[in-house]
């Protein structure tokens, strides 16, 4: 096992952060791999609280766990609430903050307990009123997913930034975000919060964390395994999955998921626990197979009677009525072929295509598979439909009502709202492999009708 050099967190030095004054010993920190950040945050929140903090880092990198651990260690009363609750009404956010901050026993009807909290000014007065006796006590308001604040009422973000000033309390607002501060586009004149960057865990840290978690979980019934055994397993696992997803919860889930399989030769006493190589060879194949479906935590069979070539095809298999299939194919053709190519594909005597310079040049343009579907009018799609469907189909209301069914099944999407009655426009939003599967079922060679493939 090679020791990876942890990347020195040099980048956050470019932000104006406070130098660490008194570093508490790492033994206070119970968060593996976050000792440095823990110490930094501890230093920031000790004593007089800053007005606001901005905790910025990628998803699932332990930002909340960090702040929770620090505030608990410092004995600050803390509220952690998600800004998503404010999308329905800011009142919900305020109520959440107040109940957590003052530890109000929740009642079914919250408005009786905390009073009216419809506006920001209510929050400020409530905070003032509640904490008159314990003015100096430190309080921390943590706002999860604070990037959402940008979409809420305009006064929320400035209000939270100035909360300490307005209430006169020892209160700090911590914004936890996945989006950097310069994307917040605030009106000028507001003080920017003190930034703090949390980086994603390094491979080394991940290995340590996951291995120790696994060891804690399994030490009761498998006491004879050393920590090196777990570390070897996790190190190999991370090597396989790190490139596709490097977040801790995911890798932890994967590790837990595959651990019984890894352990099974040992329990059968066919392999020695130290023989890492044999153990790895044992699960190598299952790991590689699970890589394709690892993000999809699904169980249960789809339909055993389906005879599709691969699992991926099985996942997109839909049983559709006959005309719906052709309608989908026609709309796919209408979406991915330019209008001027229709004559070439669907008319009997279209004449020969002259290769002039512009056409050749146009070919070098990006293919329509890359630029995505284009909108088409209903008339054009129906014309294509009638020319590709084999048997004689009468234009009936049943056919056209299928289009709205396809829209509600999310195979087509209507462009420009539903009020365009005389000339509705649609886009086909299905993929090539799905439409190819459909075409195969009705024995239609779709690749011969697509501009990109001819």
């Amino acid at each position: 096992m090679t020791k990876l050099k942890p990347k020195a967190n040099r980048r956050y030095l470019t932000y104006k952060t406070m130098p660490l004054e008194q570093t508490p010993s790492a033994s206070h920190c119970h968060l593996l791999g976050r000792e440095k950040e823990w110490a930094q945050l501890h230093g920031l929140l000790k004593g007089r609280l800053p007005r606001s903090l901005f905790l910025f880092g990628p998803a699932q990198s332990g930002k909340l766990a960090l702040i929770r651990s620090v505030t608990r260690a410092l004995g600050l009363s803390t509220s952690i609430s998600s800004c998503h609750t404010g999308t329905i009404h800011p009142r919900l956010l305020y109520q959440d903050i107040v109940t957590q901050l003052f530890d109000i026993q929740p009642e079914v009807d919250l408005s009786y307990a905390v009073g009216k909290l419809d506006h920001l000014v209510n929050l400020v007065t409530t905070l003032k009123h509640q904490s008159r006796e314990t003015m100096a006590l430190g309080r921390v308001i943590v706002l999860k997913e604070s990037q959402k604040l940008r979409d809420l009422d305009f006064n929320l973000l400035p209000g939270f930034l100035k909360l300490q000033e307005w209430t006169g309390m020892n209160i700090c607002v911590v914004f936890v975000s996945r989006v950097s501060w310069n994307k917040f586009l605030l009106p000028s004149g507001l003080e920017t919060p003190r930034p703090m960057v949390i980086h994603q865990y390094t491979k080394n840290q991940l290995t340590r964390i996951i291995a120790s978690t696994l060891q804690n979980e399994n030490s009761a019934d498998k006491p004879n395994l050393s920590s090196a055994f777990y570390e070897n397993y996790v190190f190999y696992l991370i090597g396989v999955f790190y490139l596709s997803n490097n977040t801790l919860p995911f890798l932890l889930w994967i590790a837990r998921h595959h651990f019984p399989a890894y352990y099974s030769p040992i329990s059968a006493q066919s392999v020695d626990p130290d023989n890492t190589r044999a153990l790895i060879r044992n699960i190598e194949k299952t790991l590689r197979n699970s890589k394709t479906e690892m993000h999809i935590r699904e169980t249960g069979e789809i339909d055993p009677s389906l005879h599709c070539s691969s699992i991926a095809n099985k996942r997109i298999h839909v049983e559709l009525p006959f005309h719906s299939k052709f309608l989908l194919i026609a709309s796919y053709l209408a979406s991915y072929n330019p209008v001027n190519s229709d004559k070439r594909f669907f008319m009997k005597h279209h004449g020969s295509v002259k290769k002039r310079a512009p056409t050749i040049r146009r070919k070098e343009k990006m293919s329509s598979q890359l630029t995505g579907p284009k909108a088409f009018t209903l008339d054009r799609m129906m014309a294509i439909f009638y020319s590709i469907v084999d048997d004689d189909v009468r234009p009936s209301a049943n056919i056209s009502s299928q289009i709205s069914t396809l829209v509600s099944l999310q195979f087509l999407s209507q462009v420009g709202g539903e009020d365009m009655l005389d000339c509705p426009k649609y886009k086909c939003i299905i993929g090539l492999d799905f439409v190819a599967q459909l075409a195969k079922q009705v024995q239609f060679e779709i690749h011969r009708y697509l501009v990109d493939f001819t």
Binding site: A59, I88, V108, D109, S111, T299, I316
Partner: protein, 757 residues
């Protein structure tokens, strides 16, 4: 003109929605549709209908209920007699049978998957363990037959409510998805807390009272309230009743709202035992398309797939034909059309049933009243009914086309049948009994054929029995190419496979108590015993008689061959002779028979005779009109409307379209005064060229519409009323897309359509 606009094309999703609403609660008799679902239009055509909102509807209902009842009473009196004499009762009986069959089978078919879902929800949150941050989610793949889903989710919700937990919120995009996130969360919370949701929007003042006697403002129906309520209701450690949220049509929810909704619920994953059921019409991957990874990682998804609707339809079609309670059977072409609509368009069994309902309705309303009681029922009932009929009523039966044909083919009894009522009654009873008997045999034959062909390679008759019905009703099944395919494959089967087929076939025949079927059953048993004897023989000495037989046969041509080979040495090689010899050899090789060949021929002949004997079309028998409905043009016109053609025919020939005798004309060119205004204007416009002078048009309109009073006609000035009518008509034509204003000439409009389409 309400009927023209009613068959709107694809345009409105709303139109479709309303149509499916209209089908929501089909109640057995047609006249009650108006009472039970006041929202729904009773029209069978698709289109946009304006309905009053819920409040206004209630008010209207309260105000007009008195009037309505009076009206209905008045309406009922003239037709009461005919109804009591049997016009309504066979229809009602048939429809309730079909509908209850459908419902019980639907619940039977989904019993397995519903039980699995129930078990999943029960075990989702075991009591002892802490709640995990991933929420258990059932992805219920329902298939694309959207109109059937309402009943299915109704079943599911009822099942969960009675067996697992009362806290079920069943949400559909139609009802809840169109509004904002707040309303969605509010209605979810209200349903989970068992609070009767209040429809009205003036929420600030409204106090909601739940089952626990709790009074809440609507604005407080939010997730924190739900959490505290749940903690009070079910204290930690005592019991853990899951809260089930069903999203009936997952695809139809708008993605942004769905994401916000899921995020706001994810917050409470560790506080509340939430379980999701997503009703997905397409594929599981739709979940991952709609929900990004940071949301879907909170879900632990388990897949459940329901039965296909084709299976349900197969059962239903068989039942509709075999149940004597259903007094109307579909003829070949009608069945073909309805099945085509099913297979080609929507896979919806409910739509199929509604189509069947329409056919039944037409059948009973078009039959002469004395005949209706003969549909279905037993022989005694028919006898009683016939004895009650007068001579004129009996004549109506004589007028039936198939009976006339029958009489004309029988010159001896012709006069007696037409004049002697007693004899005629007996004849009718006999003929109807014959149809019943033949139809039973016909069905048995089809079932036997289906069992025979079901697991053959390539499934010539499809995997469900309805496709066989579809074939067999159009022409005698022995003449179809699928039938030939079946026998081609049967020829390739080995003895033991053939034995299995025969045994299955024999079991099919056992239950029947028909004379001719019993005869073939005996024949079948004879062949089975022969086959089994052969099989035993074959097993005892596998290199028994067939191979020995072969050797003898094979040696003969060998001798000849020797001669052939030798002969060229003696005389000059005769190419033609050689060719002849070779041909002879191959033929002999082909003709080489094994004992099994005879047996196989016997089996196949038996099958062939059996199917040929019983597969005559029941619609070829006399008096079949009484039992079979086969007016395919009606089905076409009413169930498969063509949007443009409908408008065209309505404008061109209102007499035909409105089925009004006063409006019928002899020649197409004639424009009678009695036509609706728009029709006159349309007819005048179709006489013009590309550009139409508005003033000339107005003049000719006035000359037709106003020609009653001679004074006006001669007058130079035009009556403003007539002008207003004309203007309105022209603008409706423009709205329908027949003309458009022209910029080339003032006071002219341009025509947009040419000829009849």
């Amino acid at each position: 003109m309400p009927r023209v606009t009613s068959s709107g094309s694809s345009r409105g999703k709303r139109a479709k929605r309303l149509f499916s609403e209209a089908e929501d609660e089909p109640s057995p008799p047609p006249k009650e549709v108006h009472d039970t679902t006041p929202v729904a239009s009773s029209s069978i055509s698709k289109g946009v209908f304006a309905f009053p909102g819920p409040q206004r509807r209630q008010r209207l209902q309260a105000a007009t209920s008195g009037q309505k009842q009076r009206k209905r009473a008045r309406k009922a009196t003239p037709s009461a007699q005919s109804q009591s004499s049997g016009s309504a009762s066979p229809f009602e009986r048939s429809w309730t049978t079909a509908w209850t069959r459908f419902q019980t089978w639907q619940s039977d078919m989904f019993a397995d998957v519903l039980a699995a879902l129930r078990a999943f929800i029960q075990d989702a949150h075991p009591l002892g363990q802490p709640l995990s941050s991933t929420m258990p989610t059932a992805a219920f793949l329902t298939g694309v037959n959207l109109p059937d889903h309402g009943a299915l989710f109704g079943l599911l919700a009822r099942e969960i409510r009675t067996r697992v937990t009362p806290h079920v919120a069943s949400l559909s995009a139609q009802k809840h998805g169109g509004v904002n996130l707040k309303a969605l969360v509010q209605s979810t919370v209200a349903k989970l807390m068992l609070i009767e949701a209040c429809e009205r929007d003036d929420e600030e003042s409204e106090m909601e009272v739940g089952s626990s006697g709790l009074a809440l403002k609507k604005q407080n129906l939010m997730m924190p309230t739900l959490r505290t309520w749940y903690a009070n209701q079910y204290p930690v450690g005592e019991s853990r009743v899951p809260l089930v949220i069903i999203l009936e049509d997952f695809e139809a929810f708008s993605p942004t709202m769905l994401q916000d909704f899921m995020i706001s619920l994810c917050e409470y994953a560790t506080a509340l035992p939430l379980v999701f059921v997503f009703g997905i019409a397409t594929t599981v991957s739709m979940i991952h398309q709609r929900l990004p990874y940071h949301i879907s990682r909170h879900l632990a998804i388990e897949k459940f797939s329901g039965q296909k609707s084709t299976q349900l339809l197969g059962k239903l079609v068989e039942a509709l034909y075999s149940d004597p309670q259903v007094g109307c059977k579909l003829g070949g072409k009608t069945l073909d059309r309805l099945l085509e609509m099913f297979i080609m368009n929507d896979f919806s069994v409910k739509r199929f049933l509604l189509g069947f309902k329409y056919c039944m309705f037409e059948h009973f309303s078009r039959l002469p009243p004395p005949v209706i009681a003969l549909c279905g029922g037993d022989e005694q009932g028919r006898k009683d009914h016939l004895n009650n009929l007068k001579s004129e009523d009996l004549d109506q039966i004589r007028y039936l086309a198939s009976f006339r044909r029958y009489v004309e083919s029988d010159p001896q009894n012709r006069a007696r049948l037409l004049t002697n009522d007693g004899l005629f009654r007996e004849e009718v009873i006999m003929l109807l009994g014959e149809i019943d008997g033949h139809f039973k045999r016909f069905q048995l034959c089809l079932r036997a054929l289906f069992w025979l062909a079901r697991d053959l390679h390539g499934r010539p008759f499809g995997s469900q029995i309805y496709s066989l019905y579809r074939c067999a009703f159009l022409k005698p099944v022995c003449q179809t190419h699928e039938y030939r395919d079946v026998f081609d494959i049967l020829k390739l089967l080995n003895p033991s496979e053939l034995m299995k087929k025969m045994e299955a076939h024999g079991e099919c025949l056992i239950d029947s108590n028909d004379e001719s079927i019993e005869k073939s059953s005996v024949e079948c048993q004879r062949i089975i015993s022969k086959l089994s004897a052969f099989l035993k023989h074959g097993v005892q000495n596998p290199e028994g008689s067939p191979t020995i037989h072969d050797k003898q046969k094979v040696t003969e041509p060998n001798d000849e061959k020797d001669i052939v080979v030798k002969s060229p040495k003696i005389k000059k090689l005769d190419r033609f002779e050689l060719q002849k010899n070779l041909l002879k050899q191959t033929q002999e090789k082909r003709q080489r028979t094994v004992p099994f060949d005879d047996l196989r021929r016997e089996v196949l002949d038996y099958f062939h005779n059996f199917f040929r004997a019983f597969s005559n079309l029941p619609t070829s028998l006399p008096l079949h009109e009484i039992l079979f409905f086969d007016k395919v043009s009606l089905v076409h016109r009413h169930l498969m409307p063509a949007p443009r053609a409908v408008i065209q025919s309505a404008l061109d020939d209102p007499g035909f379209y409105l089925e009004h005798p006063d409006l019928l004309v002899n020649t197409k060119a004639e424009i009678p005064n009695s036509y609706p205004d728009l029709n006159i204007i349309y007819k005048l416009h179709s006489e013009c060229g590309r550009l139409i002078n508005l003033f000339d048009w107005l003049q000719s309109w006035v000359s037709i519409a106003d020609c009653d009073d001679e004074e006006n006609c001669s007058d130079e000035t035009i009556d403003p009323l007539q002008q207003a009518k004309f203007t309105q008509g022209v603008s409706s034509l423009q709205f329908l897309g027949f003309i458009k204003p022209s910029k080339r000439k003032t006071d002219h409009v341009a025509r947009l359509t040419w000829g009849g389409c």
